[in-house]
Structures are given as C-alpha cells and as structure tokens.
Amino acid sequence: MSRSRRLLTWLVLLVLMAAFGAGVNRYLASGDATAFAPATQRPTHTNVKLPLPGTVYFADDGGLFAMTGTHITQLQAEGRGWTQPVLLPGVGLLAIKVTANYYSDLYELDPNGRVEAQLSHDSGKVTATALGADDWIYYPAVGPGNTLYFAYDWPKGGLDDPNNGLQVDLSIWETTLGNQITRTNVQNSSGITQQSWANYYTGGDISPVPLLGGGLIYVDYEAATDNSEVSTPVPGAGPGDEVSQIRTDPTPNPNGKGDGTPLTQPGDDCAQPALNAAQTEIAMVCTPVVNGAPSSTESDLVVASFDAATGTLGPLDRIVTGTMAASPTWSTDGTDLLYEAPEAGDGYLELWYVKDAATTPVAQPKQVTTDLDLDGSPPVWTP
C-alpha cells in the first residue's frame, strides 16, 4: 500500500471514529422516556381518532376549541386562561377567563368564540396588599328561566373569624343571566342570592347542576373527620383528609355545616356530577379504594339512576376504573358519555367515549383524541 493511500485510510478511519463518538452521544440523547414528553400538539393539529356526532367544545391549555367530526377549530387562543365552557342554549357559550394567580371572570361568547359580553367584573386589585379584594368565579351553570348559578369565593373569613382573610372558600350563588356580577352586588345581595354556605377551610361548594323542576345538585367539600360536616362517618379517615359529597337543595346556613340532602356517601368521595337531558341518569367521578386506602392517582367514572322527585340515586355503577377519569358529559340523547382521562403512558387528559353508558354491560371506552392537554373542565357536547 502506498504511503498516500495509507494516510487516506487512516484519515477515513479517524472520521469514522469521530462519527462513532457523535453517534453514541446522539443515541444516548434519543433515549428520553416518551412518558416525559413535555409537548402536546396544538389542538388544531391533533389527530381525532374517533369522530363524534355534533360539536364538542372544550378547553385546552387556556384556549377554547370546537371539534366537529375530525376537524378542530380554535375559538380562543391557548395561554389566555379560558376554561369551563358551558352551553348557553340558542346563544353560544359561557366560559371563565382566569387571570393567573389573581382573579377570574365570566364571559358570554357566540358559537364562534367571539366575546359578546363580560358578565362578572373583578375589582382587578392585584397588588400584594389588596389581593383579598379580588375574587374567583368558577363553575357557571344555566338553569330554567335563565337562572345562572356559579361558585364565588365570598364570604371570605367565616362567621367564626370574620376578619381572617386567610379563609377563602367557594360558595354557590344564583342570579339571572345578564345581571352584573361584582363583589359589591354579591356582598349586598343585589340581584344575587347565596345558595350554599361552604364548610370553612375546605375549599367550599362547587359544580352546581340546575334541576328542571327547580333547585340544584352540587358538590360539597367536607372534613372527613368532622361528623357535623359529613353525613356519615368515613372509615379510616384521618385529620387533614377531605371528601366530596354530592348533595341536593342546599340551604344557606351560616353555620357552614352539612347543608343540603346527601345523594352520595362521603366515603365514595364523588364529584363532577353531570345529568342527562331527561335528568334520569347521573354520571360522576368517585375515588376508588386501592389496597385499603383512597387513591390519589385514580378516579372512577360512575353512573347511577337519579330520581329528581325523591332526590335519590340508584346503586353506583363504576363503569370505568383503573384510570384518572374526569368531567363526564352526556350526549344530547342521554345515552352516551364523553369524559376525560389520560392516554396510556401519558398523563395529558384526552377525550374518551362510552356508548350506551347507562346500559349494562357497558361497552369498552374508546379514545377520541390524541395529543390534547385538557384542563379537566367538562366538555360541552351539542347536537
């Protein structure tokens, strides 16, 4: 072999060695666990695996979106604090807009997501010394006769300690759609009336669901060890444990204790109730007991029959277990369910569908979307 050829051979080998080193480096870099993937796709670019009839509105990463068939349209851009869309029949949507770490407000939007009206007005006092003047409004729900229910963090500082600004719990309030919701109007009961009185230091009462015949059901958060708050003792509960209980017909009670008639047992820790259109079936999520203790990483999708006249539930049927189910919504005809849960191996919440959810045996859930980052607030399913 000539000298020049030998040199060329060594040169090539050196290049190959360097390439091998770089390859090892890149191979190691490519070993990231897929479970840690931080990025989801923009909702408008995601793949809809299962087209559903009608339109589904949902909140994703602070934006609002509408899904029709396999097409997803952006109504409000991500990162703007939009959450908890609800249907405003004949008009469009109501939705909450959160100004992170300060306050939230309620807006009315048309079906294309354009803001039509601002229905609540926070004081906007976002300085450190005046944060108590700001308020959270969440969980809007529209009932018969344009009755608007919502959860609002007033009164702050309960009767036990009225000057204690550290106590911030949500209570349920009622007004007529279109009335301006401000702290002053809430405080003075000016066209706005209190429907429930939160148990102190629990986070409060949320998720009002209006009943066709008047009244509402809602979720009451309770200290699991306080027998004046829970309707029945919770086995094995310890200090600091809280449970949620679905109740009906709250009566504002300044004692903040156990108001409303219980529908579920505190030990079942049920929340996020959704009634079908006929209000004969209720879907909700309840905490399973795993190895003798309530799970903090699982929630079951549960269905039960509901009798509004007597205010009673049938037996709880846990139709989806072993996952982290959230925010069920019925189809318009009241047979199928849409809910949120993570895709396997990925914690981001996606839409899932269960056909004939109130009929046993219940069909296997089917995944509807991929690569979304739903915020856990219920989707809206319209015809």
Binding site: N25, S104, A128, D153, G238, S299, M324, Y348
Partner: protein, 363 residues
C-alpha cells in the same frame, strides 16, 4: 519453490512478509481503541452535565452523630447501606433556598424547611412508609454538629445553621434527637428544584382532593424582591396533569387548610406518590436533562452509584404498598400564642416517639 532459486534467497524474500503482520494487528487494535475512546468521549460529553451536577449535589456526608438514646427507645444502629436489602430511612426536605429573608433582618438569609417527610424503605418487604413532620412542632433544636440549642419549631433548625448542607445537618440532628430515629440519608430540594423536576418529567398526574384556595400564598419563585409579597392561588379539584408551578402551589398552600399543616402534609405525600410513579419510567437518556434541571436545587448524601438501585426499588414497589403516616392532634395541640407570638404546635413527645418507633423501628 521455483526452480533455480536457492533456499536462502527464498527465505530472504519471505522474511519481510512476516513483519507487516505485527503492525497490522497493532493497527487493528489501534483502530478498535480509537473507536472505543471515541465512544467513551461521546458518552462522557453527553453525561457531562450529569457528572458535574452529581459532583456538586450528591455524596455529602451526614455530619451529625447518632442520636442519644433515651430510656425506653429502641437502640439505633449505624446507617444502613442502601446497597443492601436492609431497610433504610431517608429524610426528605423541601425549603426556600433563595435567601429571601436576608433583607428582613435574618442573619443567615435562610428561613426554614417548608416540608419534612421521613421515608422508610424496606426493599425486601417492598414497602415504603412516609411520615410527615409538622413544621410548627415545638421541639429542642440541635446544631449541625449535634449540639443542643434552644427550643424552636422543628423546621427552624435549618436557618440559623446557615441553610445548605449545614442547615440540613442541623435538621437531621434535630429529627434524630427529638424523634429518636436514625436517619440514614437525606434528599433536600429547593422550591425551584421541585418545579424543575416536575416539569422535566413532563408533569405529574394527580387527583386534586379539594379546591385549594389561598389569598396569601408566598410570591417568591418568580423573582420577587419583596420577601412578604403574596399571590392568590386556586387549584381546582379533580383529575389533572399538573406542571411544576401548579404542583408547587398545590403542596405549598396552607392558609385555607383544615387543621393547619396537616392538609398540606397530605397533599405533599400525594405529590410524592405521583412523582414516584412518573420517575419509575425514567430512562438513561432522561438523566442528563434531569441533572441539568436540578443543578444547584438538590442536595443529597446518597452516592450517585446508589441512585440506580433506589430507582429500581422505586419501580418495584406498588402504590398500595406505600403507607402514609401523619403526626396530628391529639399528638400535639396548637398554641397561637407561643414564644414570640408564634403559632406553634406543642407536642406530646412520648406519644409521638411511640408512633415514630412503630413505623420506624431500629434496624
């Protein structure tokens, strides 16, 4: 052999052919060595952030002596090696690390540990026990060298010792002496470290147990220069995928909580379980990013070589095998008018030690 050629001449022609064989073998070895070295350099360059972070963050030794054994307490043995199958105890500490109170008159600039969780891992039984220590528990404090100091909140040993590893040593000494328990290892993480860790693993999946509302949440992880600045927090209940900042709000908020710190302790253990679930999916390629994200935000005495073992143990333990223990009334009573007007928790130490020894027996 060709006719007409002598054997000598034939040998003289063959002899030079033998010489290239040795250089060829050497050449092959050289090439192989070159590839190996190149691969090692490639791997080293990938793991360099991990290596530098590990040198800075791991392997700190515990400075304190073993606890003085009180009459009736189980005899503590020297620290169990995490390399064996023997049970071992880790003290998890979470705290401010930004020295934000320097301007508020503190000599050290460090305040206290916001979170203290004692964890016992039994690799053979496949069980984990978590015990949260309320931060306002009024106990005897100890210095980093194990010297007895005055009484104070159990979380306040950290600051006067100057934070960092000295503060951690003081906290370990205080926990060991007051609770009569042997701490084998510690892991300390700063507020920003917890945010970075959770973000780096792509968030955690958790069912928030109730609305967590707070109008007086510390505003100190976004560059605020006012140590008393406040923020509002509203973490709504239910299943959700939490990023680092939201998870920190969930575990750190305490002003609208039942029974003061206990509700927060429950949430802290929830987040630990969710984090363990996520970390069990850790792969080799993630370690580098994780090390970069945690640089300067984590301190531990667990040697780097033991981490893979700990991760292995973590993967093997079922969620249902994790036992949650809390120190709650009547094991202490709240006193809003404690020394210096502090809101303190006055402990029944003998009852608390009995609880601790039930779940953390001497090994």
């Amino acid at each position: 052999m060709s006719p007409g050629r002598s054997p000598e001449s034939a040998r003289s022609r063959r002899a030079p052919r033998r010489h290239p064989r040795i250089p060829r073998v050497r050449s092959i070895l050289l090439v192989l060595l070159g590839f190996i070295l190149s691969g090692v350099v490639g791997a080293l360059s990938f793991f360099w952030p991990t290596i530098t972070a590990a040198v800075g963050a791991t392997g700190h030794s515990i400075q304190v002596t073993a606890p003085t054994v009180l009459p009736g307490s189980p005899t503590a043995t020297p620290a169990a090696a995490t390399g064996s199958s023997a049970p071992f105890t880790v003290l998890l500490l979470g705290s401010d690390n930004d020295g934000k109170f320097t301007t508020a008159g503190s000599t050290s600039g460090f305040c206290c540990t916001q979170s203290m969780i004692l964890v016992r891992v039994d690799p053979t039984a496949g069980t984990v026990t978590m015990l949260s220590i309320p931060r306002d528990l009024w106990v005897t404090l100890y210095s980093a060298s194990g010297k007895q100091l005055t009484a104070g909140k159990v979380s306040q040993a950290f600051g006067p010792a100057g934070g960092g590893t000295s503060g951690i040593d003081a906290e370990i000494a205080t926990v060991e002496q007051d609770f009569q328990v042997q701490v084998d290892h510690y892991v300390w993480i700063g507020l920003q470290g917890l945010i970075n860790l959770i973000d780096e693993v792509g968030g955690i999946d958790i069912v928030a147990s109730h609305p967590v509302m707070d109008d007086n949440y510390p505003y100190d992880v976004a560059g605020s220069t006012n140590p008393n600045a406040a923020d509002r927090v509203a973490v709504l209940p239910g299943a959700q995928h939490m990023g680092g900042l939201e998870a920190l709000e969930y575990v750190r908020s305490r002003h609208d909580d039942l029974s003061e710190d206990i509700g927060r302790n429950v949430r802290q253990q929830q987040v630990l379980v969710a984090l363990r679930q996520k970390l069990s999916q850790l792969s080799l390629g993630d370690i580098n990013n994780l090390a970069s994200a945690l640089s300067g935000e984590v301190l531990t005495d667990v040697p780097l070589t033991q981490f893979s073992l700990l991760l292995g143990i973590s993967k093997d333990i079922e969620s249902g095998s994790i036992q949650h223990v809390y120190i709650a009334p009547p094991l202490y009573t709240d006193d809003p008018n404690g020394p210096g007007g502090q809101d303190i928790s006055v402990p029944d130490m003998s009852a608390i030690r009995a609880l601790v020894h039930r779940y953390f027996p001497a090994t």
